[in-house]
Subunit: 561 residues, 2 copies
C-alpha cells in the first residue's frame, strides 16, 4: 500500500504573469498552496509538512491534487470548502465572497486532545493545520523573523537599556519558526546559542543564512559565544544537542560560576509531545521510528524531558535572567507533569507584544506572485514612501532586504496595524494596476495577530479582564473577513500551542489591480485589524480604547453610543 502522505515530487509554484486558473484570485490560492510546499519553504514537503511539528498544507497528496484541480476550475462566483486539508465541496456564492473557506483541526472541546486528534489523523479523518500551514500563507522562516526580532529588541529595551551588544540569548529549536531566532537575535544586536537536536535543521539554517556556525559540543559553542561577545560581534551558533540536557547543564555551570545567558527562551516543538519534541537521550531517527511503533512511550519520555527543560528555565528566571515562553506551550506540559511552578516566567505576548496588538499591529505580510524579487524591492521602496516618518519600519525594511534570503515566492513581512494596513493594500493594488509590478500581490497575516486568536497560554495569556479563553473573538474575525470579501479565510484549532489550547483564524486577500479588489482590500484590511483593537478595547486596555477612538471605530457595547 502506498502512503497517501508521501510522494517524491517536488512542488514549485508557477511564476510570472500567465495564469492557468480562471482568475488571479484562484491562481493566487493555488500558487500559495504550492509555495507552502516549495522545497525551500516547507520543512518536510514530501510528507506535506510545512512547519510546526506536523503542520500540513493538505491532508494527502490526492487531496493536494484535487485542491489544485478544483482551484483551476473554480468560477468567479464559486467557493471551495476545505475540511482539514481535504476539498470537500464547491458551492455557488458570489464574486465578493471568498473563493476558499477552510476549517482545519477543529474538535469539539471535550474531545480536543492530541490523543483523539491522533486517532482521527491515523484514520485519515484529520489534518493538523498549525497556523499558516493549512491556510496557505506560510512564507518560510522569514515570516517569523520580524516578530522574533521585535520581541528580542523589546526585551533588550526593557532589561538592558536597549543595547544587546556583547550579550547572548540561549534558546532551543531551529525548525520552521525557531530557525528565525539566531538571525533575529543578530539583527537585534545579540549573540545566540540555539540548541537543536536535528543536524539537518542546523545545516539548513546555515545554508539559508539564518545561522552563522555549528557546534557539536557545549564547550565549542560556549567558546564561540565567549569570543563573539568579548569582541562585541553579533553572531549565532547552532549546538547539536538536546535542550532538555543542555539547558540544565548550562544552569548548573552558571550556578557554579560559568557563563550566564542574558535572555533565555525556547522554540522546540513542545506543543506536540508525540511528533514534535525529541526526548532527552533519543536520536532523531529513533524518535521517528518509535513514534510509529510505540507512541505512548514517546509521549511519556517527551513530557518528562520538557519538564526537565522548564525546570532549568525557571532556574534561570529565579537567578534573575529574563526568561520567556516563546509560545510553544512548554510550561503547560511541565505543569501537567506535576511541576507546579512551571508558569513562573511569562509568555512573550503579555511581556512584550500586547501593546502592539492593542493598535492592531501584527505580522502583516505580502508575497509577489510574479516570483520576481524586484517586485518585493519595489514594494519595500513604496512602503517607505507611504510611511515616510516610520523610522522603525525603514530600518526593518533595510535590514530585511540585506539579511533575509527569500524562500520560495519572494515575500516581505512588516508589523503594521489598523489604519496602515489598508493603505498598504490599496497602494499595492495600484502598483499592480499600473503595471509597475509584474503580477498581483497576495496579502495576508499570521493567525498570531491582534484580533484573530484565542490562546490562553500565548496570545491571550493574562488578559486584563480575565477573558483569556473566550474564543468568540477569532470566530467573529473569520466571519467578518468572510463577509468583507477576503480571498480565503480559515478557522483552525490547536495552532502554536497544540490541541485544546487555541482557536484562531486566517485571512488572505489578493491585490489583482482591479477596482473590485480595491473595494475589498479597503474593507478587509480595515476590518481585520479593527477586530483586534475591538477585542483589546473590550478587555479594557487603554491603548486599545484610545486607538479605537482615534480611528473612529463604532463599538457600541464597548465605548457606548
Amino acid at each position: 500500500m502506498t502512503d497517501p502522505r508521501h510522494n517524491s515530487r517536488d512542488i514549485f509554484p508557477p511564476t510570472g504573469p500567465e495564469i492557468t486558473a480562471k482568475s488571479w484570485l484562484t491562481e493566487a490560492a493555488m500558487r500559495m498552496l504550492m509555495n507552502n510546499l516549495h522545497p525551500d519553504v516547507a520543512e518536510n514537503p514530501h510528507e506535506l509538512v510545512v512547519y510546526g511539528g506536523i503542520g500540513r498544507a493538505a491532508r494527502t497528496w490526492q487531496d493536494f491534487d484535487r485542491i489544485v484541480a478544483a482551484l483551476k476550475d473554480l468560477e468567479a462566483d464559486e467557493t471551495l470548502m476545505v475540511q482539514s486539508g481535504k476539498p470537500v465541496g464547491i458551492f455557488r456564492t458570489h464574486k465578493d465572497a471568498p473563493r476558499v473557506l477552510i476549517a482545519n483541526s477543529n474538535l469539539v472541546p471535550h474531545w480536543a486532545t492530541w490523543a483523539h486528534f491522533n486517532e482521527l489523523d491515523r484514520k485519515g479523518l484529520m489534518m493538523y493545520g498549525q497556523m499558516t500551514a493549512g491556510s496557505w500563507i506560510y512564507i518560510g522562516t522569514q515570516g517569523i523573523v520580524q516578530g522574533t526580532y521585535e520581541t528580542f529588541a523589546e526585551a533588550g529595551r526593557q532589561h538592558y537599556g536597549g543595547d544587546l551588544k556583547g550579550r547572548w540569548i540561549l534558546t532551543g529549536g531551529l525548525g520552521g519558526m525557531g530557525g528565525a531566532q539566531p538571525l533575529a537575535a543578530v539583527m537585534a544586536g545579540a549573540c545566540c546559542l540555539a540548541v537543536e537536536v536535528d543536524e539537518t535543521r542546523i545545516d539548513f539554517r546555515i545554508r539559508t543564512r539564518y545561522l552563522d556556525a555549528k557546534a557539536r559540543t557545549l564547550g565549542e559553542a560556549l567558546a564561540l559565544i565567549a569570543d563573539w561577545t568579548a569582541k562585541g560581534e553579533a553572531k549565532s551558533v547552532g549546538l547539536l544537542g538536546n535542550a532538555a540536557e543542555v539547558f540544565p547543564e548550562l544552569l548548573a555551570r552558571m550556578k557554579a560560576g560559568g557563563p550566564r545567558p542574558d535572555i533565555v527562551t525556547d522554540q522546540t516543538s513542545a506543543h506536540d509531545p508525540l511528533n514534535g519534541y525529541v526526548p532527552a537521550g533519543w536520536t532523531v531517527a529513533e524518535h521517528r521510528a518509535r513514534r510509529e511503533t510505540d507512541p505512548q512511550a514517546v509521549e511519556t519520555a517527551a513530557k518528562a524531558s520538557m519538564r526537565a527543560q522548564v525546570e532549568a528555565m525557571v532556574g534561570f528566571w529565579n537567578a534573575g535572567v529574563p526568561t520567556l515562553d516563546y509560545g510553544n506551550n512548554i510550561r503547560q506540559v511541565a505543569q501537567d507533569e506535576g511541576f507546579d511552578n512551571a508558569f513562573a516566567f511569562p509568555g512573550f505576548v503579555p511581556a512584550y507584544i500586547r501593546p502592539l496588538f492593542c493598535k492592531g499591529i501584527g505580522p502583516f505580510r505580502w508575497c509577489a506572485l510574479s516570483g520576481d524579487p524586484e517586485d518585493i524591492y519595489k514594494t519595500d521602496a513604496a512602503m517607505k514612501r507611504l510611511f515616510p516618518d516610520n523610522a522603525h519600519l525603514h530600518r526593518w525594511l533595510d535590514m530585511a532586504r540585506e539579511r533575509i534570503a527569500f524562500q520560495g515566492l519572494p515575500a516581505r513581512i512588516c508589523w503594521i496595524g489598523l489604519g496602515d494596513r489598508h493603505r498598504a493594500g490599496l497602494m499595492f493594488n495600484e502598483m499592480v494596476a499600473s503595471g509597475e509590478l509584474k503580477a498581483p500581490i497576495v496579502i495576508g497575516r499570521d493567525h498570531l495577530d491582534s484580533g484573530s486568536v484565542a490562546s490562553p497560554n500565548r496570545e491571550t495569556e493574562a488578559m486584563q479582564d480575565g477573558s483569556d479563553a473566550v474564543s468568540d473573538w477569532p470566530l467573529l474575525n473569520a466571519l467578518l473577513n468572510t463577509a468583507s470579501g477576503a480571498t480565503w479565510v480559515s478557522l483552525h484549532h490547536g495552532g502554536g500551542v497544540g490541541m485544546g489550547f487555541s482557536q484562531h483564524s486566517g485571512m488572505v486577500i489578493v491585490a489583482d489591480g482591479t477596482e473590485d479588489a480595491a473595494r475589498r482590500l479597503e474593507r478587509v484590511l480595515w476590518n481585520d485589524p479593527a477586530t483586534g483593537v475591538m477585542r483589546h478595547a473590550d478587555a479594557g486596555y487603554p491603548i486599545a480604547r484610545d486607538h479605537a477612538r482615534a480611528m473612529d471605530l463604532r463599538l457600541p457595547g464597548i465605548l457606548g453610543g
Copy 2:
C-alpha cells in the same frame, strides 16, 4: 446596585408593515430578537432567558437596548458584531453580506467547562446562547414539536408496528423544549406522563394547550394513564415531581408487576448541572436560592440525582423498554459520576433522525413578521401546493394548524431538506413581492440540523466513520452561510448538551420580496442543507452519497471528480 440582567419591562416585537429600522433585513433581526423575549415565547423573559436552562437572547438589558439601537441605525452595507450577547462593533461590509454576525459562549477547548464559563458569566464576560436563544430564531415550544413528533412516530414504527394507540411515554421536563413532548406524543397517537418539578411550567403548558392534565401524585397520574390507554385515547398528564425520584420509583413498581411504559426518555435541563437540573428532594425555590449562595453544593447534588435517573433509565432499557436520550447529555453526567453503563441506551439522533439528516432534512422554520396568523395559514396552503405529493407534510401541516397555538409572532416549522428548502424560500419571497402576504417572512432553522452541528453525545453520536467530534463542519457551515448572504449567522458552543460538548451554527435569512433576496435565498437555502448532505456523505452514509449525486453536488474529495 441594579441587576443588569433583570428588568420589569415586557418586550413585544412590533408587527405590521411599517418599519422603524432602515431596511426589512435589520427590522427582521430586531423583531426576532424581541420575539425571542415575548412573554408568550421566553421561559423567563425578565431575566433575558429564552429557553434551555440559561439560554439568553442578550447579555444584559443594556446590551439588549444597544443591539436594538444598532439595528435601527444599521445601513444596508453594514454589519453588526455580537459577542456573547453584547453588540461589540459595527463594520462596513456590503449588501450581500450578513447584517449581523454572532458568536456566543465559545471557549478555547481546554477551558470549555461549566466551571470556567460560570466564572466568566459572573464577571459579565459571557452569555450562554443555547442554540436559537442567542441567535434570535427561537419561536417558542412549537419549534420543537415536529422534531419530537417525528422521533416518537419513528420509534412507534420501529418498535410498535407504527401504532402507538393505547401506549404511553414516560419522560421528564416541561420546559421550553421539553414542553413539546406531551403534544408531540399525543399527535403521534400515544399518551404521555411527564415529570416536572416546577408547577408553573406545568400550568404554562396546560394554558398553551401542550398538556391536558396535571397530577400531584404518582398514583393520580398513573390512574389517568391507565384510564386513557384502556380507552385508546391519546392524552397527556404533567406530574409534579422530581424525575430523579419518580423514574426509580416507577422502575421498582414495574419490576414488581406495576405499569410498564412503552417508551422512556427525558428532557430535563441535564446539560446544565448548576442552573438546569433540580436535585432530588429540593424545591424549585431552594434550588434558585442555593445556586447563588452555594453553587458547588447544587452541582454535586444535581449530578448525583442525574446518575440516579440514568440508572433507572438503563433499568427500563434492560427490561426491554425502548429508551432514548433526548439530547440533554444526561448519560455523560451519569458516566462522569461513575456509572459506567450510562451509555447503554442510544441517543435519538442515531436511533431515529440520522437518515433524515443524510438528505439535509431538518427543522426548517419560518415566521410572519406581519404578526398576522393569516400570513402563516397562506404559507401553509402554499406549501401544500408546492409539494403536492408529500402526504406526510400535508398531514403535519393540518395537525399543526389544528393543535399548535402560536406563541409570539406566528410561525411554522416543517422538516424538509436539500432541494425543497430553497423552493419554499423563493415561493415565500414571491408571496411577499406580490402583496399576498402582509409583510416579509423570516426563514431559519435550529442549530440542531443536518450540517450545522458537531455534538458527539447527540447530533453526531456514533457517526459511521468515527468523526463524531470533528467540528470543522459547523464552522464551514457558518462561513459558507456568511459567504452566501444569509441575513444573520451565528456560531455557538455548548448548546443542548452543555459546555464542552458541542459546537454549532445558526442561519437566518429574510424574504423581503426583493430580487436581491431571491438570489440570496436560492444560494443560502441550497448551500446550507447541502453542507449537511456533504458532511454525512463524507462520513460514508449511502443515503447521503446517493442524495448528493441526485442533487448534483460537487464534492471533489468525497465523491471524486
